[in-house]
Amino acid sequence: MISLWLPRFAIERRRASPESAPFALFQREGGRELLFAVNAAAEAGGLLPGMTLSQARALCPTLGSEEAAPQQDKAALARLADWAERFTPWVALDGLPEPGGGAGLWLDITGCAHLFGGEEALLRALLAGCRQQGYAGRAGLADTPGAAWALARHGCEPGSNRRRIEAGAQREALAPLPLAALRLPAGKVELLARLGLLRIGDLLALPPASLTTRLGPEVAARLRQALGEKGEPLSPRRPAPPQEVRLAFGEPLAAAEDLARAVDCLIGRLCCRLETAGQGVRHLRLTLFRAEGSRQELELATSRATREPAHLARLFAQQRERLQPGFGLDALALAACVVESLSALQMSLVAEPSGQAGRPADPAAAASEPDAAALALLIDRLTLRLGAGAVGCQAPRQSHLPERAVTRLPALPTRRAGQWCPAPPRPLRLLARPEPVEVLAPMAEGAPTRFRWRRRLHRVTHAEGPERLSAEWWRDGPIDSRDYFRIEDQDGRRFWLYCQAERWFLHGLFG
C-alpha cells in the first residue's frame, strides 16, 4: 500500500505566483477571513493557517491571497487520482480537505510493482509524475495503510521525499515517529503528550492489553491498524474490475501500429486469464493513459460471454480510429468489467453457443458452433456501430394496446420469448404516433364513409369493426377507450383507424 501526500495541494493547484512570493488561501468564516493554506515563502514569514487575513497582511505586507475553493480542489484531486490509476486500478482518496490545504491518495500496488521495475522505481515514477504536474509530494510504502500514511507524513528522511519499508517491518519503522503519525485527532495527541507519551515507541512499550482501558479504544485501534494486527477496510474510487491486464511503456507510445499491437497483446493476456478463471467477458474497458496526464476510455459490450481473442480483436479493430494516443501513452489497461462463468465445455458445445436452456427451441435456428460465433461477432459489431439498444429481437408483451404489445429483447436472448396472442388482424406498419384524420362523413355508431389523411381523400368501401381496446387505467395517460376499424378505401388500400373521445386517428397500414 502506498500513501501519497501532497502537503500543499490547494496552493500548488493554483500555480498563480512564483514560489518565492508569499501566497495564502483564505476562507470566510462568520465575517472573518481566516487563512486556510500558505505556501513555503509565507510560512517562512511566520504565517500559519488559522490566522486572520488582516493579521497576516500586517506580518507580511507583500502577501498575495485568494479565496479557497474546496469543490475545485476536490475536482483537481479526482483528476490526479485518474492519472494515478495508470499505476494500479485500486486508488482511493484520502480525506479532503485536510487542514493546511494538503491532500492524499491511497494506492494499492499489490501485483503492479513489477510492471514499473519494482517498488522503488514505482515510487520514483509516481513522485516524478506529481512533480511534473506541479505538486510536491511525499510517499510512504508499507504493508498497511496506517504505516504508509505515517511514513509519508512523518517518516521520510531529511532531503528525501519517499520511504519504503520491507514487509513486516512496521514495528521498528514506526517506533521513532511522533504520535501524530497514528491519524489521531490533535486533542488526543496533546493529551497523550501531557501523559509523557510522545513517540509511537512509547505506546509500544506499554502492555498491549492495557492500552484500550488506559488510553481509549481509538488509540489502540489506530496502533493495531498501523502494525497490521487489525484490518482496515478502505474503498477504492471505482470498484476494481474482476480481471485486468495492463502494459506500462518506458517511452511514450504514439504510433498507431504499435498501439494496435499493444491492444492485441493485452487481449491475448486477458483471454488467458479468463480461461484460467473459467470466465467469459460481457463488458470490456480499454483505458489509455496519455503521457501528459489525461486519459481516454473505450467501452464495449459483447452479446454473449466470450474469451475468443480473434473476436475481441475484431471489435477493437473496428474502433481503432477512435483511439487517440495524443503525444504518446504511458500505460494501457484492459479490464473485463462484467464477466460470466464460461467453462471450456461450453466453449466447445456444438449445438448451442453458450448452452443456455432458455433459447428459442426452433430447430432451424440452432446453428453450429462456428455459425454461432459468427453471429455473435456480427451482433457485437452492429451494436458497436449502431449503438446500444439498436440491435435486438422482438418479443410479445402482455398488453392489448398495440403500441405496448411488443418488447425488445437482446439479440441473443437468455430467456424463451412467449407466444404471440391470437388477436384480430393487426397492421403491418404501426405508426410511431397515431396521426389525426379528418372524418368528413361520420356515421352514428360505426366507421366513417369518407376521411382525409395526409391531405388525400379516401372513400371507404369496406369496413370492419369496431374492436374496442380499453386504456390501461393503472398507467398514466388518457383513459378513454379506443374503437378500432379496419378500413379499405376505393383503391384497395387498408388502414387501421380508431376513434377516441370522438376524435379519429390513423394508427397503422395493412398489407
Binding site: 428459442p360 426452433d362 432451424a364 435456428a365 446453428a367 462456428p370 455459425d371 454461432a372 459468427a374 453471429l375 461477432l377 456480427l378 451482433i379 459489431r381 452492429l382 456501430r385 449502431l386 449503438g387 439498436a390 440491435v391 435486438g392 429481437c393 422482438q394 418479443a395 410479445p396 398495440p402 404489445a405 411488443v406 425488445r408 439479440a411 436472448p413 420469448a417 404471440w420 396472442c421 388477436a423 388482424p425 393487426r426 397492421p427 403491418l428 406498419r429 404501426l430 405508426l431 410511431a432 395526409r454 388525400r456 369496406h462 369496413a463 370492419e464 379496419r486 378500413i487 379499405e488 376505393q490 383503391d491 384497395g492 388500400r493 387498408r494 397503422g508 397500414l509 395493412f510 398489407g511
Partner: protein, 248 residues
C-alpha cells in the same frame, strides 16, 4: 445448325448468365419459390435466385407502404422456411409491427432487428450481414439507393450466396421501369380493390404486382391475392384465366 431454336436460345442465355457473373462469384443456382406457380414460371430459374439483390418498391411511396411491406414479409417468411439461420432486418424507423409479421408465418425469434439512423450505417450493416455465415439473408428498408450502393450489395450478395431484399420506401414508382439497376429483380407493389363480392367485410388483400426488371427474364404484371392470415399468395380469382393464357 444443330438443335431446335428454343434450345439454342437456352444455351445462349446460360452463356450470358455466366458472362454476367462477376469474377470469383459462385452461384449455386438455388432459387426461392414465391408459392404461386404462375409467378414462378415467369422467373428464369423457376423462382427468385437466392444469391443476389432483389428490390421491392411501393407504387405510391406513402400509401402503398402496406402492400410493399406485405410482399417483403412474404419473401422473408419463405426464405426462413427454406433456409436455416436468422434473418437480419435493418431499417431506419422501427415501425414494422411484429405481431402481424408473426401471423404471416415469420418467426420473430429468428428475426434480428437493427435500427440504423444514418443511410451509410444501414448499408454497412447490410453488407456485414451478407458476410455472416450464420444468416439466411438480409432485409433492408431504405428511402432509396443509388446505383453504386446497389451494385455493392449485389456483389456482396452474389459472393455470399445469400439474398438481400431491399425495400425502397420512397423510390419514385413510375421511373422504375427506365432506371437501370444491378439488382436481379425489381418488384413494384400496389394495392387493388378487393373482391367486391363481400360488401361489408374486408376480404383478402389484392395487389398489382409488377415485375419491372428481371435479369434473364422479361417484365411481367400480376394481379394477386394475399391471404394475410397465412401469408400465401395466389392469382386473383377473376383474372386467373387471363394471366394463365398470357404465360402460355
Amino acid at each position: 445448325m444443330t438443335g431446335s431454336e428454343p434450345e439454342n436460345l437456352e444455351v445462349l442465355r446460360a452463356h450470358i448468365r455466366r458472362l454476367e457473373q462477376s469474377g470469383g462469384a459462385r452461384r449455386d443456382g438455388a432459387t426461392l419459390s414465391l408459392g404461386a406457380a404462375a409467378l414462378d414460371r415467369r422467373l428464369p430459374g423457376g423462382g427468385l435466385p437466392l444469391a443476389g439483390l432483389h428490390e421491392v418498391r411501393p407504387a405510391h411511396p406513402e400509401l402503398d407502404d402496406g402492400p410493399a411491406t406485405g410482399f417483403l414479409l412474404l419473401l422473408a417468411a419463405r426464405l426462413l422456411a427454406a433456409r436455416a439461420g436468422r434473418l437480419l432486418w435493418v431499417s431506419r424507423a422501427d415501425d414494422l409491427h411484429a405481431p402481424a409479421a408473426a401471423v404471416v408465418g415469420l418467426s420473430t425469434a429468428r428475426l434480428l432487428r437493427a435500427c440504423a439512423a444514418r443511410r451509410e450505417d444501414l448499408l454497412w450493416a447490410l453488407e456485414q450481414g451478407l458476410d455472416c455465415p450464420a444468416l439466411a439473408g438480409v432485409v433492408g428498408e431504405v428511402d432509396a439507393v443509388d446505383a453504386v450502393a446497389a451494385r455493392r450489395l449485389q456483389l456482396a450478395a452474389e459472393k455470399a450466396g445469400r439474398p438481400c431484399f431491399l425495400l425502397q420506401r420512397s423510390a419514385a414508382g413510375t421511373q422504375g421501369r427506365l432506371a437501370g439497376s444491378p439488382a436481379l429483380t425489381r418488384w413494384q407493389v400496389a394495392a387493388l380493390p378487393s373482391d367486391p363480392g363481400l360488401p361489408d367485410l374486408v376480404g383478402r388483400a389484392c395487389w398489382q404486382l409488377d415485375l419491372l426488371r428481371c435479369r434473364g427474364g422479361r417484365p411481367a404484371s400480376f394481379e394477386v391475392e394475399w391471404d394475410d392470415a397465412t401469408g400465401d399468395l395466389a392469382l386473383a380469382a377473376p383474372l386467373r384465366d387471363r394471366a394463365a393464357a398470357g404465360v402460355a
